[in-house]
Subunit: 342 residues, 2 copies
Amino acid sequence: MVNLNNKSVVFLESPKEYPIPGVHLKVESKMLDDELNEGELLTRNLYISLDPYLKTKMGGVGHPSIYKVGQALDSYVVSEVIASKNDKFPVGAVVFGNLGIEEYTRVRTSNDLKIIEDARESKVPLSSYVGALNLAGRTAYCSLIDIGKPKAGETIYVSAAFGGVGQIVGQISKILGLRVIGSAGSDEKVDYLVKTLKFDAAFNYKKGNIVESLRSAAPEGINIYYDNVGGETLEAALEVLNRFGRVVLCGMSSIYNRTTPYGIKNIILAILKSLKLEGFVANQFSDELEERFFKDVKSWLENGDIIYKEDITEGLENTPEAILGMFQGKTFGKAVVKVADL
Amino acid sequence: MVNLNNKSVVFLESPKEYPIPGVHLKVESKMLDDELNEGELLTRNLYISLDPYLKTKMGGVGHPSIYKVGQALDSYVVSEVIASKNDKFPVGAVVFGNLGIEEYTRVRTSNDLKIIEDARESKVPLSSYVGALNLAGRTAYCSLIDIGKPKAGETIYVSAAFGGVGQIVGQISKILGLRVIGSAGSDEKVDYLVKTLKFDAAFNYKKGNIVESLRSAAPEGINIYYDNVGGETLEAALEVLNRFGRVVLCGMSSIYNRTTPYGIKNIILAILKSLKLEGFVANQFSDELEERFFKDVKSWLENGDIIYKEDITEGLENTPEAILGMFQGKTFGKAVVKVADL
Ligand SMILES: NC(=O)c1ccc[n+]([C@@H]2O[C@H](COP(=O)([O-])OP(=O)(O)OC[C@H]3O[C@@H](n4cnc5c(N)ncnc54)[C@H](OP(=O)(O)O)[C@@H]3O)[C@@H](O)[C@H]2O)c1
Ligand SMILES: NC(=O)c1ccc[n+]([C@@H]2O[C@H](COP(=O)([O-])OP(=O)(O)OC[C@H]3O[C@@H](n4cnc5c(N)ncnc54)[C@H](OP(=O)(O)O)[C@@H]3O)[C@@H](O)[C@H]2O)c1
């Protein structure tokens, strides 16, 4: 094989607020040295996940970037092996795992890659393997079960409910027999949550007072708050949580792009109502729980118990704009980039 | 028996900030109607506990008072039965439980009273039955075990460490093999924590930066933060907690006398470090755990494994000043009022 021209999304500078295309990251074309060593692979990337976690990796307020200037960002990717010096991953295999945000990736250590055995006759869209069946889904499933401890008949509130994680949290909760309330940043998202994803209630957090919206969606209070956004929404949920309520601290999207921190003023309610707030990182859960996640969510996707709305941006060159759009709430569903067809 | 002249501490008005003698509460003398009905008792109160919880009961910012104007406050009390129409509590029995902050109490329902069988030859001071063997001790023991989940070799940090709850939390933690760090509001208290109560390290939170003091007392970080004060100290502890750390949210003394709430700005650390924060109310624990508490703490007090420093104010008439002093941190140890000798 000859040298390949490879487009990558590369890091330029840590964003203090929003990551701006051309300032903090950009698309760059470079020749890829595809002369493989023993054990290495070359993959052609098909679908790439965009996650808010990219902001953390790029650094910003208080944290340095994990990337060097000019280095390609990385993410959860579905990819086809197009050259291989590794028997475990033959040419033609379709894999998913952590790879570069680029058209082609030269894979030096393939440890975390997994083969999608039925890729060519998959019953779920291949893109599921970067979100619903990857970080977003694993995060949702494992933390909801392990930390949220949902029980049939309880009420759960999920913020950023139409995001990659939130959609799954809400729909698993429905499957488990909970009453599910979601919030999102536009009326279209709210509509979709109720009409298509069958949430029991949803509201647009940008309109009106969050405590009031939540109280009227959950007149008897909530038992679990699945927190994707932090800040004012976390404060509102603390107000409306019932005794012995649980807060799953998953993410704080409302503060990632702020330069001044937001102070939570009503933590004392955790004492008065015996609340538990627990944070986690997605890789802390047991192998057993991760296996249950993959099996359950795959079968729920296959039989339609879970619908997973993805907002697919076509073409690697549009990735920086898509990343910015995700942080601005412009994405309608889970943010994914499609680089190529299988 | 003839009618008794009875001094009581009565409620006047909800304090927005500190409870001021003469403004929010005062001592009043009244004749007590001691003509008992069937089932009733008359008790002569000996020791009375003063707890920060009084502030909550008296109302203030956002919460109404549970007392009516002119009504006697109530608390944890050790008392002698001096008249009885109730076979379970004969004259001469020494009891402890919830009674009025007054010289004599006419007890209409004696449900929660317990008899101290060995009161006249007690190996622990009778005053222990209002604090170490009552709310303060029960709170400390049950929440530390059930929520803190202390393990030998771990490091715990306790704020308001020389208070009624804090002293017990720290000393139980030592017994369980933890490294114990405390903070308090004066150098004398800090000295006592280290020299007499055998804390491994302690600091005066009013001097210097709390994060720095905590880091130098716990260079390898802390695993449990037992929070009696909230606010800035809670923020500092979140900074210094290690991965999978637990925060026992017991009380927020630093905000009880503030009119403006304090915002916790670094809750995001709970996600990055997989921290758990859990609040509780003292009566939520199992009977089994409460029984273990009483048995363990009583024997630790008897054999000197736990030292319980009480700051005893003599005379009921000095109670309003003692209450104010407790909120101002003037109390040296657990705040107790001695009304009379047995
Ligand atoms: N702990 C972990 O290990 C772990 C793992 C994965 C993800 N996470 C976190 O989980 C959260 C959800 O992740 P995701 O992948 O599902 O992302 P996502 O929700 O699909 O994407 C971000 C969404 O957050 C919402 N948002 C943006 N700014 C906001 C603001 N100021 N206030 C409220 N909402 C805002 C937007 O939707 P709206 O239109 O509704 O505003 C946006 O679409 C993120 O915070 C992420 O960092 C944590
Ligand atoms: N959750 C429950 O069910 C439950 C049950 C019992 C008690 N509690 C709570 O547990 C905490 C401790 O109770 P306790 O009976 O042991 O009270 P305590 O600590 O004996 O009395 C209050 C002490 O708090 C400290 N303090 C006062 N203002 C402060 C401030 N601004 N910042 C930091 N510290 C301050 C003072 O000591 P310094 O000189 O060290 O400042 C004061 O002596 C209280 O918050 C109480 O409300 C909760």
